[in-house]
Symmetry: C2
Subunit: 213 residues, 2 copies
């Protein structure tokens, strides 16, 4: 049985899967595009299995490695099968047209919207949204482990995610309740805007934010 | 004539003044508490002068090293004398009772509120709010220059602040218009909450946030 199920087969799904397999967790990749999912599973090699959206979720931790609106669709789709599971929202609902506003309702966050639409028994956690795929896949930046900021209302769920993050060679930092996702997401409105600004020639999605020392 | 005027005489005023004097800028410290102001000016030594709130502002850059509500009071107090000057808001309007909410109106920021109450001709810039006093005074963290995120609607004003920041041995990062202060301040709601959480024993106001590499 897989310990972690990842919904999605894009850059973030790949980066997270690489870290998890590095930590000897088995990973189940579920995606809508069967070919992309198969390619990713083959690339990942031993420890990875794949399937379509209709497959049974095997992981106790389910990582929604998809955009915000997809994350909401996915928790509605899986409904009660998510009860008792840790559901990780990694999304950044930044308007990609202008990097100047959010796609979420004011005074909320993607993670809270996902929790609102998920089964009551799902333990929703925010994590990985402050990581970019390239540095996350590498696991370190400037010789130091990446910081993974984690927010959630279930202490038990956060401990489970923190354990997997730490085993993956990253540094988990518990930042408090799920509503702290508002600040974690706001941070990325600013940071993603920097990455796309041509005047910042050194910021090309290969950066990472670290709390030092 | 001082190039930089700092309003306030607390830890952040000291840290910023130390960096500026290190950069051979002359600094004028204006504070309400005459004794604290005199002590700070004496500690800073050559390059620093002091005065009360009634003194004439000498700097072309005016740094409001005071809490949010004080920053609003100060721009109202100085009124038209701030026209043409670069006014830097460094405040974090985090509710210090719970580190869970902001003291600013929803959908705004301390910097935007300061700009709203300042003379029309004042060029308001957000900077230094993501720095804690101890690491800012040192100027570096883990062997690397501190990042200073800068937001503002006047490109000229941001260039002036960036030049002083760079000369002070810090790394200026222009993050866009003044409304990006919302995200810079939100970030600190999260980060200040970490510093006061006893479970994070390594985060005791001596950290700094860096964009790596």
């Amino acid at each position: 049985m897989s310990q972690v199920t990842i919904i999605g087969n894009g850059h973030m799904a790949r980066a997270i899967a690489v870290r998890m397999i590095h930590a000897r967790h088995s990973v189940q990749i579920l995606g809508r595009d069967g070919e992309r999912t198969r390619e990713l599973v083959e690339d990942l090699g031993a420890g990875a299995t794949g399937g379509g959206e209709e497959a049974v979720i095997e992981g106790g931790i389910v990582i929604l490695a998809v955009p915000y609106e997809e994350a909401v669709r996915v928790v509605l789709l899986y409904g009660e099968t998510l009860a008792g599971k840790v559901v990780v929202d990694i999304s950044n609902p930044v308007n990609l047209a202008d990097f100047d506003s959010m796609r979420t309702p004011a005074g909320s966050s993607a993670a809270e919207q996902v929790a609102l639409h998920a089964s009551k028994g799902a333990l929703v956690v925010k994590a990985f949204n402050t990581c970019f795929a390239a540095t996350l896949e590498a696991g370190h930046v400037a010789g130091q482990p990446l910081d993974v900021f984690i927010a959630g209302d279930s202490q038990d769920a956060k401990l489970k995610v923190s354990a997997v993050v730490a085993a993956s060679g990253l540094r988990p930092i518990d930042v408090g309740p799920l509503r702290r996702a508002r600040e974690l997401e706001a941070m990325m409105l600013m940071l993603m805007g920097l990455q796309v600004d041509p005047s910042h020639e050194n910021f090309n999605w290969d950066t990472a934010i670290k709390l030092l020392p």
